[in-house]
């Protein structure tokens, strides 16, 4: 038991929680925004992979870190445009189109990466974001080094969660987005163009996904390698359900999830005799459990996965 206590009482664990949570916060908020407008975006895994690759590539070729992050967001938005074209304009199956976007975006990332770095081996590195100590707060004992000495994108992710919550529940735009996800016909009757709203939400949401991927190469690590996203996108999709499509709860869910992940990483080295794969499985098992527990209770946007065609019921 003292082992467990030592882990939980360590500053390192709590510092890692925010670091692990950041890409999940970006990705979950992105998926949440798409789904609030009625579009399931399974392109997330590939969009995050592409964001990770293009963010790293931009910085590797001399762009500064923020430019890298912005480029990842823009390319994410372009994939969002592709996904909305398929699912909103053509009204294709959101499941299959999303998987197609993921397969395309990830294989395209690997293709571009191998074109630039032809040989396998140690991938080239960049100088990643450095932690910023928030004046005052970072000097607090324990809490300071754990929560207020993070890299800038982490603070940005938390800020975006708050902004998104505000937009969704306190502004006319948010109302239009939620209406489109619940009942696009009613939204149209109110003078909202459901097509435009869905395009906007999917493009903006996909941009957030791209930023989540870029965090991996620009802050969490300092290089890109294939399969580095490791199912984080799918975990984000599960977290959206866990969060009942609410940004505040998405933030909480991502942090809770990251806590378990950071905890199992440390437990791996502290406990002997248990295969490390058991620990690595826990994030995926937890996601499935979270889905099973929350799926019935969650209030799904009523028009999720239903294509909208004007004048058609």
């Amino acid at each position: 038991m003292s082992v467990l206590f030592d882990i939980i009482a360590s500053v390192g664990l709590w510092g890692a929680v925010l670091r692990i949570a950041t890409p999940l916060i970006f990705g979950t908020l992105g998926a949440l925004l798409c789904e609030r407008a009625g579009v399931l975006n399974l392109g997330i895994e590939g969009i995050m992979t592409f964001g990770a690759m293009i963010g790293w590539l931009s910085v590797y070729h001399g762009a500064d870190l923020w430019t890298g992050l912005v480029i990842a967001a823009i390319t994410g938005g372009v994939f969002g445009l592709l996904h909305s074209g398929l699912t909103v304009t053509l009204g294709l199956s959101q499941h299959v189109a999303g998987l197609g976007v993921t397969l395309f975006a990830s294989s395209f990332s690997y293709y571009v990466f191998r074109l630039i770095v032809p040989t396998a081996g140690t991938p080239p590195t960049i100088a990643p974001f450095q932690p910023i100590a928030i004046p005052g707060l970072s000097t607090l004992p324990f809490i300071g080094p754990a929560f207020f000495t993070q890299t800038a994108p982490t603070y940005l992710a938390i800020l975006i969660a708050l902004v998104l919550a505000y937009i969704l529940f306190r502004t006319p735009l948010g109302l239009a987005i939620r209406m489109t996800g619940e009942n696009p016909h009613a939204a149209e009757a109110q003078g909202v163009n459901p097509m435009k709203v869905r395009y906007g939400a999917v493009i903006a949401g996909s941009a957030l996904m791209g930023m989540g991927g870029a965090f991996l190469t620009l802050s969490a690590f300092n290089s890109f390698f294939p399969t580095m996203v490791q199912g984080r996108g799918w975990i984000c999709i599960a977290l959206v359900v866990f969060a009942s499509w609410r940004p505040g709860r998405a933030l909480f869910g991502a942090l809770l999830f990251a806590f378990f992940d950071a905890f199992q990483l440390r437990l791996q080295t502290a406990v002997d005799g248990v295969p490390y794969q058991i620990f690595l499985m826990t994030p995926y098992v937890l996601s499935i459990v979270a889905l099973a527990v929350m799926a019935r209770r969650a209030r799904v946007p009523q028009a999720l996965m239903q294509p909208y065609r004007r004048g058609e019921r």
């Binding site: 053509l90 299959v96 294989s107 293709y111 074109l115 599960a238 499935i288 799926a295």
Partner: protein, 351 residues
């Protein structure tokens, strides 16, 4: 003059054949742009892919060997998608089928004579795949959890599980510390279809299964019920289709085919399991199924096309310095172009 889209009552046969062909041409044209940007001659690259895949007896048998697991994972996706059961877990089911065969052969059944052993092992592999898909199905039926995400997440769990076994109880002590399962005994390996090649009878098994699945879907009550479950679940229930039971059967068929793919890959090609046994056969199976428009017989051709890209890209890559990932890009693009092409066959433009 107003143009509008009108849903077609039924699709003529020529469109059914033409759609995937046009989709593939469009995908090849798009990835041709990527090849050109990389500075290689596009037509030469495609010519090298084609000759790399079918230019010699060896390469042709290699391509068909690669097509075998793709046919089975393609069938797995096709039967599930037809009933609108989104089984994206074929990758995990493939690995579970593979490791089940390695375990059963090295720990339990290795002493049986080949005519008994091989069919038993194939059934063991299929059963392992079925067991894995029943988890997301149960979660869907019991808790109404979307099976897409759960079956995707299970892929990661299954791969870690396999990694754990080949690092532990099933580890081959002779593999120099490399995580690799114990090999199946020689007499458990599938007979060759073509001498002095890797092509094994698994290829024939896959084709026979495609025909059987086609007959099941078109000629049996279960086939009708599974299609009804996909086309209109509420209507199917109203018409007296037992939805839950039908989905369980569909899931078992789908998971069983994916598990069998893993079993056949072990018994036909590798003889042992590593964590890179599948270069994404499960995911590519989704593309194969879509390119075939979920038609079991179409799966055969779609799998051969996909295998052609993968095998051919290896040789082309060595010659022209284009990353082999161009095959993955083309295959993924052909899924997207196929979706778009299918859309336009469902509708026609009316003035």
């Amino acid at each position: 003059m107003i143009m509008r889209l009108e849903r077609r009552e039924h699709r003529p046969l020529y469109l059914m054949v033409l759609t995937p062909v046009l989709a593939v041409i469009a995908a090849l044209a798009l990835s041709g742009i990527l090849i050109a940007i990389a500075g290689a001659p596009v037509l030469d690259a495609y010519w090298r892919i084609l000759t790399g895949a079918f230019g010699s007896r060896l390469s042709a048998t290699e391509t068909l060997t690669r097509a075998t697991p793709l046919m089975l994972t393609g069938l797995a996706a096709a039967v599930a998608f037809r009933a609108r059961l989104w089984n994206i877990g074929a990758e995990g089911q493939f690995y579970l089928g593979a490791i089940a065969v390695a375990a059963a052969s090295s720990k339990l059944l290795g002493d049986l004579p080949a005519p008994v052993l091989i069919p038993t092992l194939l059934l063991v592999g299929a059963a392992a795949g079925m067991a894995l898909i029943l988890i997301p199905l149960w979660l869907r039926l019991r808790f109404s959890v979307d099976e897409v995400v759960t079956s995707l997440l299970l892929n990661f769990i299954a791969l870690l599980f396999v990694s754990m076994l080949i690092d532990g109880v099933l580890k081959d002590p002779l593999a120099f510390g490399w995580p690799q399962s114990q090999s199946v005994s020689d007499h458990a390996m599938l007979p060759k279809l073509v001498a002095r090649s890797r092509l094994h009878i698994g290829f024939a098994i896959a084709i026979v299964l495609a025909i059987i699945v086609h007959l099941i879907q078109s000629r049996t009550v279960f086939g009708l019920q599974s299609r009804a479950a996909g086309l209109n679940p509420a209507g199917a229930v109203f018409a007296g289709v037992p939805l839950g039971r039908t989905l369980v059967k569909v899931a078992c068929l789908s998971g069983g085919l994916a598990g069998l793919a893993g079993a056949i890959e072990v018994l036909g090609v590798k003889g042992y399991v590593t964590t890179d046994l599948s270069p994404g056969f499960g995911y590519a199976g989704i593309v194969v199924a879509m390119l075939a428009n979920l038609n079991p017989l179409g799966v055969i051709l779609a799998a051969i096309f996909t295998a052609t890209m993968f095998v051919g890209a290896d040789g082309m890559s060595r010659g022209l310095g284009i990353p082999t990932y161009i095959a993955d890009v083309t295959v993924a693009l052909s899924l997207l172009t196929m979706l778009i092409a299918l859309f336009f066959t469902q509708y026609r433009i009316r003035r």
